[in-house]
Symmetry: D2
Subunit: 259 residues, 4 copies
């Protein structure tokens, strides 16, 4: 089974980059499942019901999010009714939506997708490590292979999660910093890992935002309305070939394309 | 002029990796200047007077540090008297040491090294942007080429600094997260940039720390004495070829080697 | 000279409490100057041009603010042209507005008002301690008595500022936590001090916000639109009698009234 | 039943203040139970086995702690075997010790003591609100009256906890900021509340620390070894008269004495 995980898709430039590149990648690599992080598709902040449909139309199979999941109020009703739109599983009981999904290919192969969020320098929610163990055990009754989107700021928390789930899941891939890391690897017990897949969005920007606005914020300390940058884009993803029956990695490849 | 910038060197494993690989890199690439981040050389926390000498003996020309600069009390006296040992320039007036250095090769070419630290999720010190502009102007009276070690947690703050100094300095390279990023690039106005050079230290670890200890800290919320991990190491650096007279980048290459 | 300092005035309930109580307090105590913190007068978040006028009409002489100074965009133009509306003095150069004001009574007595903001758990701006020393020196060329509104989260940063300015200014009073502290005192070198004056606003609330909304935010980790609570109000202030010529405290009294 | 809750007892000056004042308070007010926060008794950082015994000898019935619970390694073994030494109940499963205790007077009246810790600007542990509800339900099978030590930084989190538990417990009292607040009150459903009891320790200090050291830390951004201040002390407590059978408050009084 070929799985493509796309990092935080940033605004319209990110969506257009996905529209241009994803169909070719799916065709060329015979990709079975696409997991895309959609927390920034709506002008950099959140996701709307229409954009959920757009991402599915573009070929995304399952959408993960993160701390920006709730930025657009109209999305709140979608979470409970659309199982392919995930929010981190370690939001507390009572929060709308789910944090995992089991995807089944036309050929009958299944893959668990688990979405977690770190807490270092992030909203204080339930412990991602406790929830990870519980959710992995639950999913393992249905699937052998699980890929994890660990949305977090601190490199230490992501690496700790990678090692914590090493051998228990097939992939742990980070999102949220909007910068791809160069540390893709197979951990000692067989799990594929990368600290951050990186953003898909405007290249000449500050994590996707117009650089002038971001610089002004750092210079003044004042709140600032942010806008998504324009210009050339970068497309960041992780391509994993895995054995869905065994839950084992066959190969892992980091993708960083510019267009 | 060939400049090699090595990211956070982590404990004894990091130093041994530098000892094994740096001489060959210097010889093979005819490297003129080596900037090494030494904030973690002393068991992961700080640097001692002896380890300053060790790094110089290994071929490091100038040592940068960061938030861990002060972990070992015996180093405080070294900062004022050793100009090749830097602490971030935006520590307030009165803090021991300096944040920049002008290195001159035997052939008479000069390079400015400027050390800054971000403030997002970090100690609250003076503004790195204000200080950067002031220090760059001052250094520009002596040199044409400046390389910057921007020690920071948030990807946004590092990218903002890269764009803020784009065209004014030759290189802006991040340190501190201990994970190499895959975004090395030439910014629109000509400055070479990478969000993080990455750690030189134990590969199978949580940012260099024994993974069991880091995981336990996340699971319990209790403070935990950390120890540097062992096993195979990763060496992370950025190799820049630059024209010292013009202050322009000739080429930039990210280095990630395992041994 | 009698100075009344009112803590964060919270929304319409806070303004109505000021309207009911301030005229009587001014009359009964022969108050000469009223310093009121207005960062929350506009529905809990920021201040508008009309509300600036309202506070002046209610008897406030000088308005301080804080981290919420910028919440309403239409106030940005008012800061440069209205010297009696302050933002913290340690916002960096280039930020609109000023951080201090010299008030002169009809009888010709003068008082300096200095507004500072802490950085612990707050926006990262310039150092309040460095700026305090510089601004106090500048104001001392014009006045003998200075009162300081130190807007900060951490009790340690406020107490450190109190001792740092002890003997140099007449009063250091904290704002921002919205809870009055019981530690009003004269510091060893003569400066009157309180860690927080406390909020003027709805009593049965979570720092002025409807309690159900605040609890829900803590329970879910999701962002939540906040609304100012209703019901009985609490009025919190600090009344200082000082010798404006000598810059010395005559007496200090904490005021906490409910209505 | 008369319950005295003493806030963070700071170092030797704090212990000596307790030694001088507590016996008289117990005698004069016929106090039945004393809850004392001991997280800072060992030189400002943590608590040792000997100091646990000292506090019991001085008349403290039950010791609460907080984020500094673990500062002294030798205390770790004491937590599991001494049920009257509490750590916050919302530390995750597997952390040594307990977060609640049922105290029974010689006359046979019982009181539940529940210890919680906030997460805003604090270590990220389990949710204090979820844990509070679960623990209160459990304790209610044994006792009618419960007093809560809510150890937290943010005033909003403490007030939210007060309202969350209003009517379910008898007292919610905050600790940790080391500054007594002036907002003692009976909440709408009958629970006695104060945002912070305040520190018992050196008066002329920065939250108990020598002021010069604290100021230097804010001025330099460098880590600094802290020492407990000396000089006159302040004793801060909350005295609650409650009906243990009904779980209702009879009266509540804030105590702030200097000596
Ligand atoms: Fe994102
Ligand atoms: Fe995010
Ligand atoms: Fe480091
Ligand atoms: Fe660092
Ligand atoms: Fe406020
Ligand atoms: Fe504020
Ligand atoms: Fe404490
Ligand atoms: Fe504490």
């Amino acid at each position: 089974m070929k799985v493509l995980m796309i990092g935080d898709i940033m605004g319209e430039p990110g969506r257009r980059s996905v529209a241009r590149l994803l169909p070719k990648l799916i065709a060329n690599h015979a990709i079975d499942v696409v997991v895309g992080n959609g927390e920034n598709v709506a002008g950099g902040f959140g996701i709307t019901p229409d954009l959920v449909d757009d991402l599915f139309d573009l070929g995304v199979s399952v959408i993960t999010t993160g701390n920006h999941a709730w930025d657009k109020k109209e999305i709140l009703d979608v979470f409970p009714r659309e199982p392919r739109l995930l929010r981190p599983a370690n939001y507390p009981a009572g929060v709308p939506g789910r944090g995992s999904y089991v995807f089944t290919t036309p050929g009958g192969e299944s893959l668990g997708i688990l979405h977690l969020m770190g807490r270092a320098f992030m909203p204080t929610i339930d412990c991602p490590f406790q929830v990870a163990k519980r959710e992995v055990e639950r999913l393992k009754t249905q699937v052998s292979a699980i890929v994890v989107d660990m949305h977090a700021e601190a490199s230490s928390e992501k690496m700790a999660m990678g090692h914590y789930l090493d051998g228990l899941v097939t992939v742990v891939a980070g999102t949220h910093t909007h910068v791809q890391t160069a540390d893709e690897q197979i951990l000692p017990k067989g799990t594929a890992y990368i600290t951050d897949i990186g953003m898909t969005g405007p290249l000449h920007s500050v994590i996707g935002i117009k650089k002038e606005l971001a610089i002004e914020k750092f210079l003044t300390g004042m709140p600032r309305r942010f806008e998504v940058a324009s210009g050339p884009t970068v497309f960041c993803a992780l391509l994993v070939d895995l054995d869905a029956a065994l839950g084992k990695v066959v190969s892992v490849e980091r993708i960083r394309m510019m267009d």
